[in-house]
Symmetry: C5
Subunit: 151 residues, 5 copies
Amino acid sequence: MAEESFYGVTLTAEDNSETWDVVDEDYSRGQKLVIKQILLGAEAKDNEFNVVEVTSQKDTVQIPIAVLKAGETRAVNPDVEFYETKVTFKLIKGSGPVYIHGLTIKDDVEVVDMEEEDDEDEAEDVEIEHPKKRKIEQNADGKNAKNQKKK
Amino acid sequence: MAEESFYGVTLTAEDNSETWDVVDEDYSRGQKLVIKQILLGAEAKDNEFNVVEVTSQKDTVQIPIAVLKAGETRAVNPDVEFYETKVTFKLIKGSGPVYIHGLTIKDDVEVVDMEEEDDEDEAEDVEIEHPKKRKIEQNADGKNAKNQKKK
Amino acid sequence: MAEESFYGVTLTAEDNSETWDVVDEDYSRGQKLVIKQILLGAEAKDNEFNVVEVTSQKDTVQIPIAVLKAGETRAVNPDVEFYETKVTFKLIKGSGPVYIHGLTIKDDVEVVDMEEEDDEDEAEDVEIEHPKKRKIEQNADGKNAKNQKKK
Amino acid sequence: MAEESFYGVTLTAEDNSETWDVVDEDYSRGQKLVIKQILLGAEAKDNEFNVVEVTSQKDTVQIPIAVLKAGETRAVNPDVEFYETKVTFKLIKGSGPVYIHGLTIKDDVEVVDMEEEDDEDEAEDVEIEHPKKRKIEQNADGKNAKNQKKK
Amino acid sequence: MAEESFYGVTLTAEDNSETWDVVDEDYSRGQKLVIKQILLGAEAKDNEFNVVEVTSQKDTVQIPIAVLKAGETRAVNPDVEFYETKVTFKLIKGSGPVYIHGLTIKDDVEVVDMEEEDDEDEAEDVEIEHPKKRKIEQNADGKNAKNQKKK
């Protein structure tokens, strides 16, 4: 489902920050970044802690997400998702290298909604309800649907 | 599907408890908290156990969910879910810091049901069954459907 | 989807066995227990093995599912499921405490089938096939569908 | 979805091989074995490697899938799937015991296709397309659909 | 869903590279490789790092994905996906053996779209919208749909 890509970035003492963002303001809905693994490189110094902090703009959260140390913890598997938000990873302790692995997923939500509008015109003569349209709104546009109801 | 957000909280000796709850009583159905990783901070004391206990109000369960110790266990990945309930995490042993990572998910179940009611009015002239409506009730409202049947 | 609850139980030398079962014979289909994590408590003795054995009644399997030891293996993540069966966990070695974490899931399969029957009556005048109904049977009731076909 | 069962087998020096196979040639499609955890028993010898090799007949692959050693690696979580194929697990190094945990899943794919044929007959008078049927074929019978197209 | 196969390859000092690619240019959409586990063999040398680097052609990413060392890290579980792209794994450090385990998945996306065209012809007399067709385009062909809209 949807369009997905491998996500892989490297943090080091010199290049200690990396930011991911949704790609297009108009079609930003449904995009997310999933972080599967954070891995300490073979070149990391012995007994040095390497700490990666994440900042999620929409969720206004800033928190360490990986604490790695050669000889103790080589990798963690957070398996967390950042949905429709700008995200920054920063190596706040240690000199790395630290590798961050995951996926980016785009759902192309808005496009589908607009095509469904066309269906409504075609079908209005026979007055049969649009079973899939409700389902799609539920999945993709739950927040807007809720707001409209309260008007 | 649904609306989701990153969940990240920090427990320390001074701030040793954190509670998550569903956000709105009327629309509380379909909300859940998923805990993916519990991680011991780099500042944790050597050989000190750090134990996080979870209390799930609806399930009336109180149990340790993470036992962490520097040099032995830096992180656990519980991957458990708390569904439609108030949940409290407490650092009952150790001075932390301990980081809890996960997701909160809202399904906006009720809103969809109300829109489906409108569909029923529009479509009653042609008497064609609502295939998606049954599916949605099955997924989102199984408990109520069961109760109604028993009347 | 479905109704789910957090599952958490503690095994110790004194209270070394715990059984989970489906809740209602008539509506037992679609119920399952998912075991996500088995965790050794901070109070466990050094160098003592703690072994949890699982017995799945329907699958007639009895096998250790967790082997834990302080200083070596604090937690395992089996991520296995027990579907429509009685399950017993027993601490067969060690004095614990051992914590078992997971989810119980109810799909309310039977209820949906009965509602679909009503749809069939309503719709038979217009002779339009029931697209969702077949899908629901496939997902929820594959076994029965198979039996009926053989008659 | 589908019918699933817990899968648990034990390998030892004396009983070092175990084979899983699809259960019925006519209805073998959609069956799979998922391996979630491979765990070294408490009785395993210190510093002895225990290696489990898997042979997947359809995929013609033979490869170690678990390398376990007391004091170093007590468990691995492969989370791999063997789909519509005979699979053999063999303890090629070490004396065990080694426990293999997972799930077997049956989708009952063929049965659904045959029921859909009946729908086609019932509905042909009104000439309304079968929206769900295409979806089911896509999911369950993609390979056959492809072959038919090439004729 | 879809057709899937077990993926297992071995990297050694002599045979240190392995490439996976989509199988047919015309039907390459919807194909992906999922990497679940990377495991160090029992024959690996003590205290030698074994590093596997991945190159994803479409995503133009080249990054280490596993850092393994006997006595410290026997296995990692990246759980990442490579979607519609050529992927190369290379043992850039150490002599192995290293085992890579996962799944390959084919969705047969194009075939379904072409069958849906036929449905359109059959159904045009009754002018009922095609609820599933939009859904399938959303899932499988979101990128193309987006491009067409902008024309």
